[in-house]
Structures are given as C-alpha cells and as structure tokens.
Amino acid sequence: MTVAIIDYGSGNLRSAAKAFERQAGAPVLVTSDPDAVARADRVVLPGVGAFGDCRRGLEKLDGMLDALTEAVVAKGRPFLGICVGMQLMADAGLEHGRHPGFGWIGGEVREVTPSDPALKVPHMGWNALTVRRAHPVLDGLGDGTDVYFVHSYHLAARDAGDVLAAADHGGSITAAVGRDNMVGTQFHPEKSQAAGLRLIGNFLRWSP
C-alpha cells in the first residue's frame, strides 16, 4: 500500500509523515511528483497558511491537480485533507479574496466569527468534537474527544450531510467533512496525540 503525502511547499511534513508511518508500520511517500500521486493507494493533502497560497503552491507543481483528480475522483482512492488541505475540498475559499477550491464538498471557506467577542481568533488549541455523522475514519473519536485546531477560516458546507463532525467556538465550526472516498479534517490529527493517531490509523484501514 502506497500512502502519498503531497508536498507542495506548505509547511513541514516531517511530523505528519512520522505519524502516518507509525500507524502504517511502513514508510510513507512524501512527494511532489504528480505521477506518484496518481499511482498512490491513498492520498493525504496537508496544508498550512492561507487558502490562496496553498492553491497556488499546488498549481505550481505541473500536473499535480490533474493527478489528484485522477487518483481521488477517477480511481476513487481514499483521500484525507488536513486543515487547509481539507478547506481546498470546498468550492471556493474567501481568505484574502476569492479562490477556487476543488469543488468536492459543496460550500465555501469563510472566516470564523465567534458570536462572543471574548472568544479569540485564530481558533487555536484543543476543542471537543461533536459527531454529526458516524464514519469509519472517526471510529473511536466520539462526542467530546478533544483534537487540536489552529485556523481562522472554516468550511461552511452547503449540504449538512457532508459534515461528519463539528466543534463549538461561539458558533458551530466544521471539524470534519466526508463524502464517498474523501474525508477532510480541519483539526490536525498529526498534532492531536492519541486521538489523532487513532484517526490516522482508521484512515489507513478505511475501505470506502
């Protein structure tokens, strides 16, 4: 089984790679090669920073967007987007202008605006999940499981059925989305200690 973590210059992938290797019990491929992504059995798209920057970073890798579409949409390989990697699954992102997403999950990535002005942005730290729809990748991460978030925008999904889990920060924040062979987490499983490692293990075993 080849697990490809896409490296497009968005932050450090060492920790993510180590977390996946620990759960896979085998090396994973950290790659910027579109052919490797198109051939992979599972694809992970991490992402930190701004939506538009991440989009541009992917576009700079000639053929990567096509390879991602081939692996995930055409071949139906299990896909996990993390943080901005999850946000890119949306139709569009509204951070510093409007930027197109992949259009895999209907909806837009909008600024987090807590109803209570005392609540801080970025939404940074450990927050509890509320599971909206049971999913194999969330197995063992029930209501109240704390996971690590750090973001100022979130995916406002058009279809509530695509939302797997939410968190509360002066309003509901989309914590995980999923459809068919795709899942995405706004939180960082690779930074969420035991709960995060569990999710990564679930993803590696998942047969959508």
Binding site: K18, V48, G49, K120, P122, W126, V150
Partner: protein, 252 residues
C-alpha cells in the same frame, strides 16, 4: 468549547534543557527530547522550546532537538529564541516546529512580523513580549533577556504586533519570571482584552492556583510554565485536575 492550554516550556542551551532564575544562574535539567516525550505522555497541550544558546556555532543544535522531538511527539511545538530572519523560521518549521516565537527581531524591525506572517501564515507566528512594570498600569518592553529597555509601551506593542500578523502573543512578565509569585495578571488582562488573538501568560508560576488566576484574572488563553514542571513539583495532570476543579475548561 475550546480548552485552556497548559504549555510546559523548556529553556534549551546548546542542546540541553536548562532553567534559570531571572534569566541567570542556569541549572542543567536534562535532554530536551526525553523531556518532551515525558510531557507528551503526561498530556501537555503544547510544548515550547526557548533556545537561549548565545554562541553562533551552537545555534544549529536547536534544529536537531526540534527534529528529534517532532519525530516522536505528535503534539504542537513552538520554538523561540534567536529567531531573526525568514530563513530562521523556515529552518525551524522544516525541522518540525509548528510555530515560532519572535521577540527581539520584532522590536528591531516590526515589519519582520508582517513578512513572516504573510510567508508562513499567522497561525505559526507567535510574538513574544518581555515586559516590566514602570508605573501602575504601565509596562515597558525589554529585550536581550530583560536587560535592555526599549521605551516601548507593552500594551500598544501587543496590539501593533497582532495588526501586523501575529497569531498569538506570548507575554512574559520580567518582574515575575523565576520568582514563583504568580503571573502579572493586570498586564495580561490589559493586553488580552485588547487583542483578538490568544494570549499566553508566562513568567512567575509557583503554585497551581497561579495557573487558575492566570486564566480567571489574567484572561489568558494558555498558561506557560517551566520550573514547576521540570523539577517535579507538580505534574501536568495535577495542574489540569486543579484547573478543572476550579471550573476552567481543560483537556482531560
């Protein structure tokens, strides 16, 4: 609901953990990667390394420490100390840090914070501020480990740093650091109430009640402590149980 974070901080000198009192009198306290693993297992919410290595030739040691930690601890890691250029930040992030904290370099050139935030994202840019009270309700920024006054008002500075793109403010009271007399809650509250981003309270923790006070009175989103955890006075789990009993939301 977002939890209040407990962040153990390790002062690292030439690849070893040390902890000084009032930024002097260093005492060796072990291997940073081993310490990090202990805190990871103990349920610390984040980890912070402050690199206090002065000599240039030993500066590279921090990257090894960060690499070793990131490979074994799957929790957020902030690294500060001597971060002066975009290249310094890039190297720390590539080694496995999730956030970097900028202190003196921001005072020398505030635009550095904006450049760093645009390049890497506000989520990984922490601005560390070392402040001392100069009059009731007034605090001034000091650099060079608290030795050099700048004449800059700490509260206005924190607001400016957030406007430039800091994702978080790490506020250290130089009056309290190492004293075990508790955080400067008036300072922290004044700043926290004026900024949109989280504030991490630092400097002065001696008892578990101080952590509670840092949140209740100081309005901090996170509390940072070094010596009470290093020298085994309290475990992270005890700190969490104490805060939970006081009604503060913490991760179990």
């Amino acid at each position: 609901m977002l939890k209040i974070r407990i962040i153990p901080c390790l002062d690292v000198h030439a690849g070893r953990v040390v902890k000084g009192v009032r930024f002097a009198d260093l005492v060796d306290a072990g291997d940073p990667v081993e310490q990090a693993k202990i805190y990871d297992a103990a349920g610390a919410d984040e980890l912070c390394f402050l690199d206090i290595t002065a000599s240039h030739e030993n500066r590279e040691t921090i990257y090894d420490v960060v690499r070793g930690t990131a490979e074994q601890c799957f929790m957020p890691l902030t690294v500060g100390g001597g971060v002066r250029t975009v290249e310094d930040i890039r190297k720390l992030l590539l080694a496995g840090a999730d956030k970097v904290s900028i202190n003196t370099a921001a005072v020398h050139r505030p635009e550095f914070v904006a450049e760093a935030s645009e390049r890497f994202g506000a989520q990984c840019i922490v601005v560390a501020i070392d402040a001392k009270a100069t009059a009731p309700g007034t605090w001034e920024i000091f650099t060079h480990g608290g030795r050099k006054a700048t004449g800059i008002d700490a509260v206005a500075w924190a607001e400016r740093m957030v406007a430039l793109g800091a994702g978080e403010i790490l506020m250290t009271s130089m009056d309290r650091d190492g004293t075990k007399a508790g955080f400067d809650n008036a300072l922290n509250r004044t700043v926290a109430d004026r900024i949109r981003t989280p504030l991490i309270a630092s400097g002065g923790v001696g008892t578990l009640d101080h952590l509670v006070d840092g949140v209740r009175e100081g309005h901090a989103s996170a509390v940072l402590a070094a010596s009470i955890f290093h020298f085994g006075e309290y475990r992270v789990s005890e700190a969490k149980a104490h805060m939970a009993a006081a009604g503060i939301p913490v991760r179990p």
